[in-house]
Amino acid sequence: MRGVWIMADVTFREATRRKIVWAALLAGGAFLTLFAAAMHFQAKDLARYNVPPFIRYQVQSSILQVGFYAADVLAVLLAILTSVDTISGEIASGTIHAIATKPVSRWQILIGKWIGFAGMVAVYVALMFAGVGMVGRVVTGIVTPRIFLGGALVYLECLLALTMTVMCGTWFSTLTNGVIVIGLHGIAFIGGWIEQIAALTNSPHLATVGIISSLLMPSEALWHRASFEMQSSFARTLQFTPFANASAPSVTMIGYAVAYLMIAFATAIHHFCERDL
């Protein structure tokens, strides 16, 4: 396992040195600042119009979901864009040759890289969720329910995107890999919203299309479950708001996403061990 930790360490340091990470941190910081300002002015407006505390709580909780959703999108994009060339790019440049001829197994190289990126994304998700949670707490006094569970589900979504990126990187060039993974995430995004509309309109055909999309790539389903977990019990009954859920993905779907991730991970290891470098 020594090789795994050496690779994880160098990958984490490599990932954190990339400009995209700093861009994502800057974007996240700018977003949190704007978000805090918006929440502050909205809280003042709600107070000025004497909105009843219960309604005020529900409105502000819903807007907090926007913050978490932005954190989710930034984290997923970061997971994909930082790791998109880690395998394919190093094969193309020949960097991998100096590593793969050392006394470490290829599976150790791949797992080490995965852990390195997973660590970097964990820090980012933690920072963003802590930021949005703090804004909610300080500006509005709202404590987001089950924020750790929501953060864990979003992190799982990032790991799923990361694993798919690493897996496709063992087959395709950097550019093709990026197109495939972002395309898959796009399918999941559309599918997730189709499922919500299906639940609202009670359309079984739409629901089937949505479920098939989520089965193809269950990443967005994880966000919907995370969002569901972080809503107040009243908001859950409201059915549909832009960032809340009419239909929460089941625990089975979460299990499916975990199995999907594990199969993708095993496939990535197998193909990386077997392929020519």
């Binding site: 090789g3 050496i6 490599e14 590593i99 793969a100 001829t101 050392k102 006394p103 470490v104």
Partner: protein, 324 residues
């Protein structure tokens, strides 16, 4: 051996890493096919332990694919390869192997010291060993003033040097060098040559792939020529008697039938005016040939045997490039 080399290599010269009669590399009918393209056709070669082995061939001959198969980076389609007695690609055997890829590249944010430490750790070296080996290798390769520079600031030649250092960090028994002098100035080339010789003195085997035939000629013990994925010849550079000899004779009144009669000793014959040039595979026949020419009544002004340079041998085996 200069003192600094002796300090660097803990395996002192005279204590060979292997039995002299052992083979560091043995391949049998190694073959690699990519789709319809045969990259390596039928590679059978043996490299003795402690030897500096040159692997020569034109671009696209299959040199890099062959090296990659020996290192386990590429899986052979067919055939067998044993490296230090184990199947190629074995993780354990890689502890004893060093590799400098052609056009060495690595994470550009690492400093030279960090890069060597990383590769040393991957090879299982302890912190204590690294504390000794890293500064010593940087000094050896003339990179001490640049030890804290990031690789992005390195020139191509400096990258080659640090690449060579990472290949040697764990004192490997077998070292693969793919175009090690690429991008190096004459001093750098000399340095690499010295490093390679120091490796031989400590008993290591070096497998050298280079286009610079003059470098190969003064460094290697043995060379193999690969053409279209197949070994088409080997040549021992240590033996004076081995290889083809070319003889240039300046003579007048040389009868045509005498020239034709040279075919019993010679592989090629050319006559232009008073100059006769022929090639033979053995210097033992030269006195007899000289007597034969003199007996024909010709006036012989000079009889000069010349050994073919590696470049001439290479061109002879590979054929002239008819690309232009």
């Amino acid at each position: 051996m200069p003192l600094r080399w002796q300090i660097l290599w803990t395996n002192a010269p005279g204590a060979p890493l292997h039995k002299a009669d052992g083979f560091a590399i043995e391949t049998q009918n190694l073959r690699k096919v990519y789709g319809k393209k045969v990259a390596v056709r039928n590679l059978s070669l043996s490299v003795r332990c402690g030897e500096i082995f040159g692997f020569l061939g034109p671009n696209g001959a299959g040199k890099s694919t062959s090296i990659k198969m020996l290192l386990g980076l590429v899986k052979p389609t067919d055939g067998q390869a044993l490296v230090l007695g184990a199947p190629s690609g074995s993780v354990e055997i890689r502890r004893k192997i060093g590799f400098l890829p052609e056009d060495f590249r690595f994470y550009t944010w690492l400093t030279a010291s960090e890069l060597l430490k990383l590769h040393g750790k991957l090879c299982g070296l302890s912190a204590l060993s690294l504390a000794e080996r890293v500064p010593a290798l940087l000094e050896l390769l003339g990179l001490t003033p640049h030890r804290e520079k990031r690789l992005r600031e390195f020139s191509k030649g400096m990258l080659q040097r640090i690449g060579l250092a990472q290949a040697l960090i764990h004192e490997p028994e077998l070292i693969f060098l793919d175009e090690p002098t690429s991008g190096l100035d004459p001093m750098g080339r000399r340095l690499v040559r010295d490093v390679i010789r120091a490796q031989r003195e400590r008993g290591a085997t070096v497998f050298l792939n280079s286009h610079l035939l003059s470098e190969v000629e003064i460094t290697c013990d043995q060379v193999a020529f690969i053409k279209q994925g197949e070994i088409v010849g080997t040549h021992d550079l240590r033996t004076e008697s081995g290889g083809e000899i070319r003889v240039v004779v300046s003579a007048q009144k040389l009868p045509a039938e005498t020239v034709a009669g040279l075919t019993r000793w010679c592989t090629s014959i050319r006559k232009e005016d008073d100059l006769l040039t022929f090639s033979t595979n053995s210097k033992e026949v030269l006195p007899e040939v000289h007597r034969y020419l003199a007996a024909s009544g010709a006036d012989i002004f000079s009889f000069t045997p010349e050994r073919l340079s590696l470049e001439e041998l290479f061109l002879k085996i590979m054929g002239e490039d008819r690309g232009l």
